[in-house]
Subunit: 207 residues, 2 copies
């Protein structure tokens, strides 16, 4: 009997024609990989000779990276639920005026959720980028490249989550919410791009 590797199973689900897991779930998992690599740098650094002075900070970064990783893996289910909810809302009957109104309200509720979920993912990925900076600045030199891979993963995840906000926000009738979501997202994207390139350069120069 052939046992399929668990990560290969996730990848096969991603590759299938089924709508979920899709790009939103992939974004959350990439962000979680970034957080996991921060944890690795911290775990390796703790107890290393010559790194006593950064121990307290590494413990703090580790606890936060572990927390954000758990948050991001939980977001896979939230992304799937938001997508499925929105698709179900679009399939609601629209024969009578009352049905049309109920369907339209349901679509708006789910569009809001399908905007909030990737925006929350983008926020967490931005926080992971900040942790990558601290881990790469102060972590054990021999594993510093893992901090570099972590920031690339977290930044790709942030931009991926952004695409899902851009898909859903335009159809929102609550323009104040849509506009404030896009404004927050663009701030996260701008800061995230600058900070992740700085971390990558820092790592590259330490190799």
């Amino acid at each position: 009997m052939i046992t399929q590797d668990p990560v290969e199973k996730f990848l096969a689900d991603l590759a299938s024609a089924g709508p979920t897991p899709g790009g939103g779930s992939a974004a959350a998992i990439m962000g979680a990989m970034g957080a996991a690599l921060v944890s690795m740098v911290c775990n390796v650094t703790l107890g290393k000779k010559g790194y006593e002075s950064v121990e307290a900070e590494m413990r703090e970064v580790l606890a936060e990276a572990d927390r954000l990783r758990a948050r991001l893996t939980a977001m896979v289910a939230e992304d799937v639920a938001a997508f499925d909810g929105l698709m179900a809302a679009y399939r609601l009957p629209k024969a009578s005026e009352e049905e049309k109104a109920r369907r339209s309200a349901a679509i708006q509720d789910w569009l809001r959720r399908a905007t909030e979920v990737p925006l929350a993912c983008a926020r967490v990925c931005a926080a992971v980028i900040g942790l990558c900076r601290r881990a790469s600045e102060k972590g054990y030199l021999q594993v510093i490249s893992d901090g570099g891979v972590g920031v690339l993963a977290a930044h790709a995840a942030l931009r991926s989550a952004a695409l899902n906000v851009y898909i859903n926000a335009p159809a929102l009738k609550d323009r104040a919410f849509a506009d404030s979501s896009i404004a927050e997202l663009e701030k996260l994207l701008g800061d995230g791009a600058a900070q992740s390139e700085a971390v990558y350069t820092l790592v590259r120069n330490k190799l």
Copy 2:
């Protein structure tokens, strides 16, 4: 009894202080996520009304994306083996001149392998970026953002693999091999950056 989600198990291994899986494995998995998203776009597009004229090309892109995904998941084991081999070589005895020579030769052999494996990963990720372009240009509009997430994953994977080449190539005594590896890598990085930004913009403008 609590069953840990399989992807969470991989992430927990990544986060641990154990040296493998590390950034090299994360790069291969991110590349495989990019390839899986290309496959998803193709799988969703096939059979859709209005997309009959791209069916042959989508089948071709799908077959290639499936093949590259399998290649990238296999690279996780290759990355771990190269890393472990190199670490074992560094631990070889170096008491006598003969031992020193044997150790030095083993280190060089494994450094070469630890350069070849991420360079091969970078090459495959560059090919995935090319497939993302084709899938995003011609695939079903409703899933085009998944092509965008795919290109972000594949590009982050390419840059991540590059970090591992940059770590190992400088210590190689075979400078001709080291220089040609770096030259090839920088070509892949330059082309990959330009092409992935073009695909991201293409997707962004279709949303």
